[in-house]
Amino acid sequence: MSGAPLVALRGVGKRFANGVQALAGLDLEIGPSEFLAVLGPSGCGKSTALRLIAGLAAPSQGRIVWDRAAEAATRAPGGIGFVFQEPTLMPWSSALGNAMLPLRLAGVPRAEAEARAAAALAAVGLAGFERAVPRELSGGMRMRVSIARALVTRPRLLLMDEPFAALDEITRWKLNDDLLGLWATERFAVVFVTHSVFESVYLAERVVVMGPRPGRAAAIHGLSEPAPRAPGFRTSARYADSCRAVSDLLSAALAAPAA
């Protein structure tokens, strides 16, 4: 990452009311249009970190520092998109209704919101499915609606919490490539939480490896690969090398005694 970060976590800790210390001393910097993957074992506080960045919870220790120039636009409603592990759609609402929710909440008139949501659905490959309700869509399509909803406000920062974990591998690969395509055109910053070494290496410019709870960044692996990835990258030796390097970092992080 070069230049001033869009947002930086400095020594961030989170202690819940029940006494669980989910995060401790987490340092993390996210560049203005960086694709950052966060990799770590279950329960190390990845989701918690995303919620802190989104402003859905406040850190107990440390600070979250935003770029002065970009802060207002990013932290205004619609400046941050969030994609959960589950599609998290409103089952009573159509794909279009779900995708335009952020705009409707911001008071955008219906006609304009519909047009922009339809464009967002088309961008994720769902043109023609505007009127379908979630239960008529496949798991992959539901996740696409969820991504369209996150992108419909043209956010500066996209937070993704294991978005493709519940999908089959073929669908996941397709969505990986589509996400990279969207990122290449829109240039938003991404924090992508995943359990998968392979997915993190394939997608991200940098991979942050977190240790067991209380989570903090144990290691950072930067990839020299130009993004988005060229076809054939998945089978290249460079990819295999990076996967091995990140795997080793993860093993080391898991072996290290928790602070």
Partner: protein, 263 residues
């Protein structure tokens, strides 16, 4: 559900009912049981036709009170649930009293209500409402709190107002719960309406089906009692079916079991 399974759900109870009625008729005829002890189904049907003018008027009265009580239960139940959802403090303060109202037998409250309420219809309405409102209140309150946590976070992330969150997230989330409560409340409204009229007795200005049963009892017009009983059951069954149908239609879009797409 397949077409066959749905047919079976109608045909099976209907066939059972017809067999039972036939057995009843035969039993009464063979043993020569007099009508003032146990009338046969055919005689009850004849009474239903012969006394239709009086019975239908009573039916209209009971039906009206039941539906008005149900409407009041819906409006006040939902309104209270929304009020509860606005403030935990308020919910904690009020909910115990709703429970007290629910667990106190209506026969015990009815005489008081009848004394206090000037209007007889109003008294019956209040009693029926007391019996009917709780399932709607408690179900809707549960439903309003059952909105998906992540969706609620999403609404927060996009700066949704309290009102937007209520209308666009919490109320739709509560809809299946509300309909589950409504189906129970429908039956309870009928029970409340009939029980209250019984308590009011012939001394009241009652003219509903309960009054018909009481009066017919005094005069030993047992077939008429059975006819009125039949009508009360009919109201209950029709209401159960209609409310179920309304729920199916309203929830068609997201309720897996109610969807036409699953067949």
């Amino acid at each position: 559900m397949t077409r066959g399974a749905r047919m079976a759900r109608i045909v099976a109870p209907a066939a059972l009912g017809i067999c039972a009625l036939a057995a009843w008729e035969v039993l009464v005829a063979l043993n020569g049981i007099p009508p003032y002890v146990l009338p046969g189904p055919l005689q009850i049907a004849r009474t239903l036709v012969a006394d239709w003018t009086g019975l239908s008027a009573a039916l209209a009265v009971t039906l009206r009170i039941t539906l008005m009580a149900l409407a009041a239960a819906i409006v006040l139940g939902v309104a209270l649930a929304i009020l509860f959802a606005q403030s935990r403090w308020l919910a904690n303060a009020l909910f115990p009293y709703a429970v007290v109202l629910q667990v106190t037998p209506v026969v015990a409250i009815a005489p008081l209500v009848i004394i206090w309420a000037k209007d007889a219809t109003l008294a019956l309405l209040i009693c029926a409402w007391i019996v009917a409102f709780f399932p709607i209140l408690s179900n809707t309150a549960t439903g309003l709190d059952a909105a998906d946590r992540n969706l609620a976070d999403l609404f927060r992330l996009y700066g949704a107002s309290r009102w937007q969150t209520l209308v666009r997230l919490r109320l739709p989330s509560a809809l299946p719960y509300f309909f589950a409560g409504l189906r129970v409340s429908g039956g309870l409204a009928l029970i409340g309406a009939v029980v209250a009229e019984f308590v009011a007795g012939t001394g009241g200005t009652g003219s509903g089906l309960a009054y018909v049963i009481l009066e017919a009892g005094y005069r030993l017009q047992i077939p008429k009692m059975f006819a009125a009983l039949t009508l009360i059951s009919a109201i209950g069954i029709v209401m159960f079916v209609v409310l179920g149908l309304i729920a199916r239609l309203a929830l068609r879009r997201w309720h897996e079991t109610a969807g036409a797409g699953e067949e």
